[in-house]
């Protein structure tokens, strides 16, 4: 059954159709949420909230062909809500840090860890634009529309975030060269 047909049936209140629809998109939503939130438990909470909102508000979706974009917007809103809750919680806990690059010898692992460290330090808004653009392949214009921000703001955020990630890669390349030279 085509997705648009499932959407139409679910809009009419068919819970079985919505279950099929939900099953087909849950992995996709979870991956996005986990990338942006950097936490599996909170990603699960955000996806669950997005799916409940999706079911509850599905009648407001006028064009079934725009379901994916609409669902992504719901997810981003749930992620933002989850992050707000996380911030309130984080204010009262001690943050433990570690350096996963210690002991890694391969350039690939160091590369990955360096990216992860920089990505983790980006704000939620910057991680969001990076995921939309680099992972989902959205144009800046589409990403801006999905988030609900001006295109200029989206460009600025993407520029800042991508520069930070590129700098991390450059720094890592320099570190690898130094290690090789010292070996």
């Amino acid at each position: 059954m085509q997705q648009s047909e499932l959407v139409q049936r679910a809009r009419a209140g068919d819970r079985d159709a919505f279950d099929l629809l939900m099953t087909s998109v849950v992995d996709h939503l979870y991956r996005i949420a986990r990338l942006i939130l950097r936490d599996t438990d909170r990603a699960e909470d955000a996806v669950q909230e997005a799916l409940v909102r999706c079911w509850r508000d599905l009648r407001t979706l006028r064009d079934p062909d725009r379901f994916d974009a609409w669902l992504n917007r719901l997810l981003l809103r749930s992620i933002a809500d989850e992050a707000r809750r996380q911030r309130r919680f984080s204010a009262s806990v001690t943050v433990l840090t570690f350096d996963p690059s210690e002991g890694d010898d391969t350039a690939a692992v160091a590369d990955r860890d360096q990216l992860a460290r920089v990505f983790d330090r980006l704000s939620l808004e910057h991680r969001t634009i990076v995921v939309l653009h680099h992972y989902l392949g959205y144009t800046v214009e589409d990403a801006a529309a999905t988030i609900g921000i001006p295109v200029g703001t989206a460009k600025s955020r993407l520029h800042y975030a991508t520069d930070a990630l590129r700098a991390a890669l450059d720094a890592d390349a320099r570190l690898s060269s130094t290690k090789q030279a010292m070996a």
Binding site: G13, R15, F18, D19, M22, T23, V26, D27, L29, Y30, R31, I32, R34, L35, T40, E44, V47, Q48, E49, L51, V52, R53, W55, R56, D57, L58, R59, T60, R62, D63, R73, D81, D111, R112, L115, A116, V130, V131, H134, Y135, A145, G148, I149, P150, T162, L165, R166, L169, D170
Partner: protein, 310 residues
């Protein structure tokens, strides 16, 4: 066309690797459990209907302020619903049974019903009320009169939360997304007076001065707002795909989008802004000059029957 740089490709590859894991099965199980308890909603009430009256109203430039006497808004609370008792958990099937939640969207038989409409501002808060025959439930937060909610003679009742206010109710779509408005440009504090004063100070519409009131013993402020009598919908921001614009007085941060835009030119919106144990809620009743006295009396009787369980 811009080709991705090597760094871009490495970033893309890293994101792909980071996102390799799918959702754990428990996520679907937990979501299904929640969905069993969740009904579908519509986001907003029907759009303004084309009406010859709108054309006539277009020549009207004066806004008539209808100030209702405070006593009209402050009718004493009536719990005189015969055998209907105050809500309490009970398995009994006698008339003292706790009313069930009203259906999401359906005509109601005369009787006592409940909504639990707030998932953000007052989770768990429940309002109960008695409706006569002919009214319909809407979206788990509102009631529609037998003649609808729009001009020239509709009326409706809603249980809402207002988190921020629009200084220009006609131009609310500041992000240009065409979606439900979630944030107004005027930030307000959490108190009853904060919302009442913010609405009263706006110049895009007229309102009565907020006065003290109470519903079911919960104190608050009551006021009436009259929206412009001329039909300005064509100039207002629109939902994506919508022909007519909409006019919003406030935005809500409730995740259900439970909010009601102005239902037609000259709408009169009676508000009871209440403090329910520190949670601010808004009881809403709209009507028009053409709304019959009988329909307005029915609406008032519903409001008088309200009980609130925080």
């Amino acid at each position: 066309m811009t080709l991705p740089t090597n760094a871009d490709l490495r970033i893309n590859a890293w994101l792909e690797e980071e996102a390799r894991d799918g959702a754990p099965p428990r996520l679907l199980d937990a979501t299904r459990a929640r969905l069993e308890r969740t009904n579908q909603r519509r986001a907003a009430w029907p759009a303004w209907r084309p009406s010859p009256m709108n054309i006539r109203l277009a020549v009207v430039t004066a806004v008539v302020l209808i100030a209702l006497a405070g006593g009209f808004l402050l009718l004493p609370k009536q719990n005189g619903q015969g055998a209907i008792a105050s809500p309490s958990p009970t398995a009994s099937s006698t008339p003292t049974q706790t009313p069930s939640l009203a259906p999401d969207q359906a005509p109601l038989q005369a009787g006592r019903y409940a909504f639990a409409p707030f998932d953000t501002n007052a989770p768990g808060l429940r309002v109960e009320f008695t409706v006569p025959s002919g009214w319909s439930s809407f979206g788990g937060f509102a009631l529609i009169s037998p003649r609808g909610t729009t001009d020239p003679n509709g009326s409706g009742i809603g249980f809402l939360a207002a988190s921020t206010v629009f200084s220009d109710p006609c131009h609310w779509d500041t992000n240009g997304t065409g979606g439900n408005p979630h944030v107004g440009d005027l930030t307000i504090g959490p108190a009853v007076a904060d919302l009442a004063n913010a609405l009263a100070s706006q110049t895009e519409y007229t309102s009565t001065a907020p006065t003290d009131t109470s519903i079911d013993g919960y104190l608050g402020k009551t006021m009436e707002i009259q929206s412009p009598t001329i039909d300005i919908r064509a100039t207002c921001d629109k939902f994506t795909g919508q022909t007519d614009g909409t006019y919003w007085l406030w935005a809500t941060n409730e995740s259900c989008n439970c909010n009601i835009y102005v239902q037609g030119p000259g709408e009169r919106r009676r508000l009871w802004i209440l403090d329910v144990e520190g949670k601010r809620i808004v009881v809403f009743n709209n009507y028009f000059p053409g709304t019959s006295a009988a329909d307005r009396s029915e609406a008032q009787a519903i409001i008088d029957s309200i009980t609130i369980s925080p």
